[in-house]
């Protein structure tokens, strides 16, 4: 009996490792907290395609493992996760950080350990700091705040805007870009007010805003503040059109504020509607079948990022971090959201953006760019 055991053990040891190569991808974003909906659905989109890829035997025999972490939309947590990925030699690429404020803190860490990343933070400054190991497979805030400004001027015939922001990297950045675009187009910015990111009561600010009587209010912040502001704005009887960035593209925005309170508010987001093209509609069906709920605003981007990864694996010379980085910067990927290529800074060469309006408790597409 002992002999048999010893024999099996030795054969098992002789068999040694299986020669299938696999790589690990670090996947980090907010999966708990107020922005969990965005992070989770984005990650699910990524996992959906990777699972299909692995089921088909991987790319050239390379299968992809995912190390998923929660960065809690918090720079402190994000940097811990970044360090963890850096220290793990199996991780050759990161798909990281939904929030610009988190990305701002983690990118230097990834840069130091030569770990290439696809970053999801949309603040324009991220690609202007000379990082060699990052690309941004999503439109930056220059695009995200251009469309709403144009829409306000041309379609709403707005003359005046009032800016409110939460003093965070994303909120302040995107609202400043909106203000610049709005002024450049001939509009007048009446005032810029700031709130603390923990504030829940905007009644005092709204009372000030009411006297200025702006045509539009641009609110550079994230959930749940967007919903709270919209609700209180309606309660105080402020008549301006509320314009918010992509953080508002969630059912929570409508349910937490109350459908009547967000009627007519616009949300600018980089994500196409789920029935925009046959490829996207097909993705939406698969997503629903796998996760039992509709795809989130950025699920399609997660899916497209996995398709970019596939293209990278097809074209890369080797599986080291440096090789992956070269392939990532030169990638030409055909994805569900179209053909994607990066310029020398790591920005998309062509980045679509979309504008939705809340009508009867639903998001309706009103403009694209």
């Amino acid at each position: 009996m002992k002999l048999v055991a010893a024999l099996t053990l030795s054969t098992a040891m002789l068999a040694g490792p299986v020669f299938a190569k696999d790589i690990t991808i670090g996947l980090s974003g907010p999966t708990t907290g107020a922005q969990a909906y965005f992070g989770t659905t984005w990650h699910n989109g990524f996992k959906l395609y990777i699972d299909k890829l692995n089921a088909a035997g991987g790319v050239n025999g390379v299968t992809v493992k995912i190390d998923q972490e929660d960065d809690q939309a918090d720079p402190r947590q994000g940097t811990l996760v970044a360090q963890k990925y850096c220290d793990n030699d199996d991780v050759v690429l990161g798909v990281v950080n939904f929030n610009s404020g988190v990305a701002q803190s983690t990118l230097p860490i990834y840069e130091d350990c030569s770990l290439p990343t696809m970053t999801f933070g949309s603040n324009p400054s991220l690609t202007q700091q000379g990082y060699k190991f990052m690309v941004r497979p999503v439109a930056n805030d220059f695009a995200g705040a251009l469309l709403p400004a144009e829409y306000a001027l041309q379609k709403l015939h707005a003359k005046s805007a009032l800016i409110v922001n939460d003093k965070q990297v994303f909120g302040q950045g995107i609202s400043e870009i909106f203000a610049k675009n709005f002024t450049a187009g001939g509009g007048k910015v009446l005032d810029t007010l700031s709130v603390a990111p923990t504030d829940v009561d905007f009644s005092a600010i709204l009372a000030q805003i009411k006297t200025k009587n702006p045509d539009v209010i641009y609110l550079g912040a994230v959930m749940p503040q967007l919903a709270l502001f919209a609700k209180q704005m309606h309660e105080q009887g402020v008549k301006a059109t509320l314009m918010v960035p992509d953080g508002g593209y969630t059912p929570d925005f409508i349910s937490q504020a109350g459908a009547a309170n967000v009627e007519g508010a616009t949300v600018a987001v980089q994500a196409p509607p789920l029935d925009a093209t046959p490829a996207i509609a097909d993705f939406a069906t698969q997503y629903k079948a796998k996760y039992g709920q509709d795809a989130g605003p950025y699920s399609i981007y997660g899916y497209a990022q996995a398709q970019i990864l596939e293209a990278v694996l097809k074209s890369t010379k080797g599986l080291t971090r440096e090789d992956m980085n070269d392939a990532l910067h030169n990638v030409k990927a055909d994805t569900a959201i179209g053909h994607l290529e990066f310029d020398d800074k790591g920005e998309l060469k062509v980045a679509p953006s979309y504008l939705y309006k809340v009508e009867n408790g639903k998001f309706v597409l009103i403009a694209t760019k």
């Binding site: 907290g33 603390a196 749940p224 929570d252 109350g258």
Partner: protein, 316 residues
Amino acid sequence: MFGILIQQTFNALTIGAIYALIALGYTMVYGVLRMINFAHGEMFMLGAYGAFLVLTLLIGGIGGTGAFVLAIVFALAVIGVGLVGVAIERLAYKPLRNSNRLAPMLSSLGVSLSLVTGVQIMAGPQPIGFPNFFPDTRLQILGGTVTLVQIGILVAAFVLMAALYLLVNRSRAGIIVRAVSESRSTAQLLGINVNLAISLVFFFGPLLGAAGGILYASYYGIMSPTMGAVVGLKAFTAAILGGIGSIPGAMLGSFILAFVEVAGTAILPIISGGVLGTEYRDVLAFVILILVLLVRPAGILGEPVSEESMVYKREF
């Protein structure tokens, strides 16, 4: 201009009423036990979650609910949280009653963390929409807009505070609580049940805090496991400002703090020429707190420090 004044006054009164309901709990516990109950902000959070739970269990969903049903939900939730408060005192603070002053405070920090994490695990960490307990009607009064929710908050808060005042000053329960807060040892010698008095405080404090939580969630339409942290800190500040241990002080401090916050939002950008934005509101509030404490260390209505309430270094 007059309309704005009226508007901001309504806003400040609403916030102040919510602060006051929470600040009372801090101040009552301090008055009797000379301890800061750091878990008190979580009573406020439990109130909202409790009401939501009772509502879902009772009605099996949120929808057309009568005022009577809502009153029952409100009562059940606040009484439930009051009992939780009594249980917490028995389990986490009573065993430490005769150790040094730091022990129960640290224990309350632990309770606070446990409650937040517990709710995060059970209900999820993301904010949840909270049904409005009041019809969404707006009234125009003297050029300011006020919602029924705001009026409801004010009425409820003042009714609860008046009830507390009567309880403390006009009832037997109030007499034993006041006796114990004046001197625990003397009260014990006179045959007063000290444990009962302390339990009473730990029942009514969290009850008011929970009421504040329900009103708050109803007003803002949202609740989250961490909602007690920021508001709890503000209410604690208000209690210190008014004079910790003093019940009228807590109410006064809360309204002062709320008016300072609202005034800060309205005036700061104007007087600083746009240099200091509205986000400096809290800085202003705390600067005022520091100034008051420099002049009156015991707070506005705080009792002068007596031999009994002195905190000695050797106790830490």
